[in-house]
């Protein structure tokens, strides 16, 4: 026990680093406050206001009556959203599509990240470069390219018909399949990079120890590699799931009229209907829905660390 105490003493941070640490905490906090928390307060404010024919197209939140300020907040926008099944369907649809594509991204990304982490050290950087190479082209163009590939007269259908696999073109564009394909394709690097980071750091002697204790390679993978790469999997899934749930461009370009995603609805509310309050209320609900899983994850992770 005495040597455990000695270990703790050795771990205690030097005093001189405390100021650096304070700055290290302050900068991201200020950033979040300025560019996320304050703008989001505006969004919440708008979501509690009424639509109006004015610029901006919302009524005043605070009005003056007989010299007294009166708060004119209304829950009507939230009530409308919860009342109209269209919004709920779109929300749930977004979460479902995002969940399925996140799972697919994980299934495709894990072997790739594993292979890169296991590659010769000299090969890893070029392979990682290949993973992020698509970012050199505009996201919009890449997604648009898929629509030409997937359309009835597109390359995929033509090739399959030429090979005689199918007689008539398959309908792929403007389906949910196309949306999921687009999401998986676009977000794959966000899954691979955190996974690679965890797998690359994985201590090789742990895998040797498992083999030494009699575990076959498959057992070693399930019992050692996979559990130890959970943090990377969680980070990758969040990085894919969160933006995918609010995705607008991909369902707009590749989805059909029946692919309801909340990003598209929000766009319509903001720009087609000019109903800023409802759009803001939608944004608020989406944020709440996305924050819950993050908090849950954070709690399970800190519990796991405490053992």
């Amino acid at each position: 026990m005495t040597d455990a105490a000695a270990d703790r003493v050795a771990d205690s941070p030097a005093l001189s680093t405390s100021r650096g640490r304070l700055i290290g905490i302050l900068i991201p906090t200020a950033w979040l406050l300025l560019f996320f928390a304050i703008p989001f307060l505006f969004v919440i404010k708008i979501s509690l206001s009424e639509a109006a024919y004015s610029v901006p197209p919302v009524s005043d939140f605070l009005i003056w009556q007989d010299g007294w300020p009166v708060l004119q907040a209304t829950w009507a926008n939230f009530a409308l959203i919860l009342d109209d099944p269209l919004y709920l369907q779109a929300l749930l649809g977004s979460l479902r599509i995002a969940a399925i594509s996140t799972l697919l991204t994980l299934l495709i990304g894990y072997p790739m990240a594993y292979a890169i982490a296991r590659a010769e050290p000299g090969m890893r950087t070029p392979l990682l470069l290949l993973v992020i190479l698509p970012f050199w082209t505009s996201f919009l163009i890449r997604v648009y390219a898929w629509s030409t590939l997937l359309q009835d007269q597109g390359m995929i259908n033509s090739a399959l018909m030429w090979l005689g696999v199918i007689d008539d073109p398959m309908r792929m564009l403007n389906t949910e399949f196309a949306v999921q394909l687009g999401i998986v394709y676009s977000y794959l690097p966000f899954m691979i990079l955190p996974l690679y980071a965890t797998l690359e750091r994985l201590d090789g002697s742990l895998l040797e120890a498992a083999a030494d204790l009699g575990a076959r390679p498959a057992t070693t993978f399930w019992r050692v590699t996979l559990p130890l790469s959970l943090p990377g999997m969680a980070a990758g899934c969040l990085l894919v799931f969160i933006p995918a749930a609010g995705e607008f461009v991909i369902p707009e370009l590749l989805g059909g009229p029946d692919t309801l995603m909340i990003g598209k609805i929000m766009w319509q509310e903001f720009f087609n209907n000019r109903d800023w309050p409802v759009a803001s209320a939608l944004a608020t609900i989406l944020l709440l829905l996305l924050i819950v899983p993050i908090l849950l994850l954070d709690r399970t992770q800190s519990r796991a660390e405490q053992g």
Binding site: S205, A209, D212, L213
Partner: protein, 370 residues
Amino acid sequence: MAAADSTDTLVSIQGVTKDFGGTLAVDGIDLEIRRGEYFSLLGGSGCGKTTLLRMLGGFETPTSGRIMIDGQDMADVPAYRRPVNMMFQSYALFPHMSVAQNVAFGLEQENVVKSERDDRVAEALEMVQLGEYGRRKPHQLSGGQRQRVALARALVKRPKLLLLDEPLAALDKKLREKTQFELANIQVKVGITFIMVTHDQEEAMTLSDRLAVMNAGRIVQVGTPGDIYEFPANRMVGEFIGTINVFEGKADPENSAVHCPALPCPIVMEDRVAAESGSQIAIGIRPEKMRIRKAGPAPAEAAPASNFLAGKVEDIAYLGDLSIFHVRLADGRIVQVSRTNITRRRDEPLTWEDAVEVEWDPQAPVVLHQ
């Protein structure tokens, strides 16, 4: 230990070579390790000792040669099927499993039933005095406790052979000494053959029944700690293990003597000097086998005819139990002489710049081959 029959070989390493892209890490090693033995591979970094150990564990494949364990050729046997367990230098405990789960892992791979598994895990943890720690996670343990979990995890499988890669290197000095004795006791108790890799000669001397000194991928000498210390095969072994004073001179086999220009008189040896007359050879004498005394006032009224030198005290290292004197000879060379401090006294009669005489018995010198 010494009772082990010399024909009872557990591990047989035959002409094993490991070539890492043009560099020979292990260069044609032949070695037999007996059942129940505590054997050490000793050498500096890059001497090939760890590569040899990893080949026994199945983590490296020999470029050529053969490894037999208990009569079975290990060529096509993967690590997970060898009757061998390894204690890794980093301990390699699974961080996401508790101590008990770590120890049980190997038994689960053998499909040992749960009740027996639990018993054996408890027994193994008890043996390393960690019976109460089964539910802790590795990061909640100190370095010494982690080391013992690693040992329990490797021993619980009852392997024929346990490989230890620098088992004590990560511990501080005091804990290392305590753990050395525990390790030796456990080895005797379980009766499993241990092969340990270490760069620490003291550790190898304390723990091993026999040890092999390695250099540049080859084995330089194999023997008991006593053999290696008292009869080093060559200069490298003599200088690597402990301290040795080396004198070069011309061999004089007829008189069992060596004439060194640095010394006032010849070194005469009890052993036969197996060298051609007049050839240049090196002689080693350990510091504790020399006696030091203050030079008499009369200049060498009866200076001995052999095994003697005179000089001045250049430096004294007082270690408590012994003192090490650095004696400067006339030609500037330094000879180390150690003296056990058997009497308790305040004033040390020998001090810096004192003229001293050093002598030794004929059995003290040893011929060092190059």
